[in-house]
């Protein structure tokens, strides 16, 4: 799981360079952390033969992080709603809820070559 901490740290460092405030940095870092944990746990299922791919792109307008796994794919529609009353006491299933809350854009799609790729974006310029 050291890679999860590293991914979060890299994203937060980039966010700091771009001038994001402390709260926004930590929220974006947590979004990267949750996506990376999903890639390791649900995507690659802890296989040390599979990699997690991390790409960070930044510009004056946005900070983009792309996290890919080498798993068997992922059907987001099959996830139970973590906010439904019957699911509130479930132990897991809140990661993507937090990711969506903390980023401006979220996209999950099949990764070229297999697995799943998540793209999260934080806009730097507020309209």
């Amino acid at each position: 799981m050291a890679g999860v901490d590293k991914a979060e740290e890299l994203a937060m460092d980039e966010a700091a360079k771009l001038g994001l405030g402390e709260d926004e940095r930590q929220q974006f870092g947590m979004a990267v952390r949750e996506c990376t944990v999903n890639a390791v746990v649900h995507g690659n299922r802890y296989s040390n033969k599979k990699k997690v791919h991390l790409e960070i792109q930044s510009s004056n307008e946005s900070l983009i992080v792309i996290i890919g796994d080498e798993g068997d794919g992922f059907d987001m529609s099959a996830l139970p709603d973590p906010l439904a009353p019957e699911n509130l006491l479930r132990q897991s299933g809140r990661g993507l809820l937090l990711v969506r809350a903390f980023v401006d854009e979220f996209d999950l799609h099949p990764r070229a070559g297999g697995g799943t790729e998540v793209r999260i974006v934080k806009h730097l310029l507020k309209s």
């Binding site: 799981m1 999860v4 709260d23 930590q26 947590m30 952390r33 949750e34 944990v37 973590p82 906010l83 509130l88 006491l89 479930r90 132990q91 897991s92 809140r94 990661g95 809820l97 937090l98 809350a101």
Partner: protein
């Protein structure tokens, strides 16, 4: 840094002082074992002090919920005190403010067990 957990008694309420990060891995599993152990020993009034917790991720939230369920299933109560704005935000986003009773002040939290 992972999570550091200590407990103390305030009357018949067991206050758990947590410090550090409650995240996937060592922190979350240590937290789970600690709460379950206290519940198994018959502690039914548990107050989790999060004032020194700097970071909680979804796994940490999951362990808090799991702890809540363990304690409740043993006939006890698990309440929260000392939530930072960030932790309050997490409880709002996840709607867990409807599950956890949370207080800003420890004395008030302790009294709430006796109402």
């Amino acid at each position: 840094m992972s999570i550091k957990l200590t407990s103390r008694q305030v009357g018949d309420v067991t206050v758990i002082d947590a410090a550090g990060r409650l995240t996937l891995g060592e922190g979350a599993s240590a937290f789970r074992d600690y709460i379950r152990d206290l519940a198994a020993k018959g502690n039914t009034k548990l107050l989790l002090n999060l004032s020194e917790v700097s970071y909680i991720d979804s796994s940490g939230i999951g362990e808090m919920v799991s702890g809540f369920t363990s304690v409740t299933n043993n006939g006890g109560q698990l309440k929260l005190v000392g939530l930072s704005k960030r932790v309050k935000d997490l409880l709002q986003i996840t709607k867990l403010y409807t599950v956890f009773e949370a207080f800003d002040d420890e004395a008030q939290a302790v009294r709430s067990f006796h109402h």
